[in-house]
Symmetry: C2
Subunit: 352 residues, 2 copies
């Protein structure tokens, strides 16, 4: 099937508009009885440049399951907020300088404010999900909250794994270690939860209403697609110019982030190169030399680590596409369903 | 009415046992499919020495409303977890050294881990509240989640107000400014939410099931009692020995925390004393001199600021007691109801 970029772009844009409008109303609705300055901070990250990938997947999944966009609006906006809360805290945890092309909340306002803004963002996301009861009923609202609990739990566990690697200075990791961590940290909240919550929002009431077993294939589909997405996101980080990507160039190398590509290089490099790489990675970011980081990037390219990442991403996407063909019995054949398929291509295409 | 310390102590102890057992099961239940080391960290704060005030109020409120302890277990344990999540993040935000007589999560494991552990604690609290549906039904479970959303929102707003005072170096604040901040930051999650959620858990189904308007008096009761509690907690911090209280002696002065007593002193002191006090407060904690902090404490005592705090706390408790006599129509006269009344005395008595 040909990759239809215009459909992907259009539905991403439409979903983003829906979400931003919902969030605008949410902030304005809470402001009169709340503490104004907090709501200014809350609006910062969500209104920065972004793809709104997660809400788009959620809304498309709802429509593919036979539902209307209206049924998925609140959940889509909530998921975008959870994502933003995660980013605000993640930037504190990684001590990051930039996010979406601008200075992080951490650098703008300090760790104390950033931690609190992240917490507040989570609270408002929950408010949206509670309002779901009025739109799609009590039972669905609660099922969706259960999905969000699982998603958030997987994310903090994935984050805990990665933080332990950092604190214990662990670099001796294989592809499987990486995939296990990213499954928890990325796949749940980027793909699995959006797909599953979408079905819960959109599926018609009655006998077809999905049971837990119906939603199981979406875990595997989201797993495969999510890993491909994360690898490609890390490839973009390594390769793109700062102006294109919105972060520092090769920011992950400056941060010492364990990517599939970096871990491949550390396994495959000769002893001297590996030693030099570890010394660079263990140097605090502000003390790293640009020439060292550039050497590491070049060495990774030469060693085939970038190619290894691209190959793995392709393989995961191929498996996702194969699974997608046979297991998604609750989806109809419509535009939204088409978008979900196209997204699988989009993930790898954008990193090429 | 005579203050019955033994009843207060017994029900506090019983509630704490219930909560710790529930939390133990929660952590063990999530561990097998989760990331073990995270659950060790999650258990740290909740199992430190503590009063478990909030679960005790919640369980007593449920029983006073005619319910059984069983109906309130999950919510009580959840509230204790939300409290602990708040403390873990609060310690990051305040850059604190000690909590409950031990070194903070921040100092033990760094800000990155502490932020993530706080987030994980919130997730598990939500898991408990979702399980409420099996015990007390879908509708109550959702109403309780709405209470928790409100509670958490008020807390982050109160926190935002206080963080702004710190970042903008604002000390020129009156009693009303203080009370408004503490209402949001403390009252909701220490008293108002435990009381209201207790009623929602315990109230018999049927015509007597509380409407929103029935629960309104609990906002004011919790407001009055919560302010008294916070003032007394701050009095204890100023006056108690470190071994008694579990934090540094006069830790709030070292941190420059805006307490009712400190703000009173800054308003009432002569120009020279005020200037010296501000210089001390604006010095980073690690550069403060013990003799300076001692001078400030002595000056506050001499200026009547401690007495002012005690007087205000008494006044708030008296108003709470008066309100409590007339407005709590959904409570029965039983042991738990007696405990709730005694708690009002307990709050001020423990600071004497």
């Amino acid at each position: 099937m040909a990759y239809d970029r215009s459909l992907v772009d259009r539905l991403l844009r439409e979903s983003r508009e829906i979400v931003l409008q919902e969030l605008q109303e949410l902030f304005e609705g809470n402001r009169p009885t709340g503490y104004g300055p907090l709501y200014d901070l809350l609006a910062d990250y969500p209104f920065r440049e972004g793809k709104s990938l997660r809400p788009a997947i959620l809304i498309a999944s709802a429509r593919a399951a036979g539902g209307r966009t209206e049924q998925a609006r609140l959940s889509a906006a909530a998921l975008e907020l959870y994502h933003n809360a995660f980013l605000v805290h993640d930037d504190v945890e990684d001590d990051s300088d930039f996010r979406r092309g601008e200075v992080t909340m951490l650098r703008l306002h300090g760790a104390a404010v950033a931690v609190n803004v992240g917490d507040a963002t989570n609270v408002l996301a929950m408010q949206l999900l509670l309002r779901n009861a009025e739109v799609i009923g009590l039972r669905r609202a609660l099922l969706i909250l259960c999905e969000v609990e699982r998603m958030a739990r997987e994310s903090v566990e994935g984050q805990a794994v990665e933080l332990d690697w950092i604190r214990q200075d662990i670099f001796d990791l294989n592809d499987q270690d990486y995939v296990r961590m990213a499954y928890k940290k990325t796949c749940w909240y980027t793909v699995i939860a959006p797909l599953r919550i979408g079905v819960l929002c959109g599926c018609p009431a009655g006998v077809r209403f999905p049971m837990e077993r119906d939603l199981v294939p979406l875990i595997e589909l989201g797993h495969l697609a999510g890993i491909a997405f994360q690898i490609c996101d890390d490839l973009l980080n390594l390769e793109a110019e700062p102006s294109v990507y919105g972060k520092e160039a090769a920011g992950d190398l400056w941060e010492g982030k364990r990517t599939l590509m970096l871990l491949h290089f550390l396994r495959e490099a000769d002893t001297a190169s590996r030693k030099r790489a570890l010394a660079i990675l263990q140097t605090p970011r502000r003390k790293k030399e640009p020439t060292d980081v550039q050497w590491l990037l070049d060495a990774m390219i030469e060693r085939g680590s970038i190619a290894h990442g691209r190959r793995m991403a392709d393989r995961f996407v191929e498996r996702a596409i194969a699974l997608d063909e046979y297991s998604m019995t609750f989806y109809e054949e419509n535009e939204a369903r088409h978008f979900l398929r196209e997204m699988l291509w989009y993930v790898v295409e954008r990193a090429k």
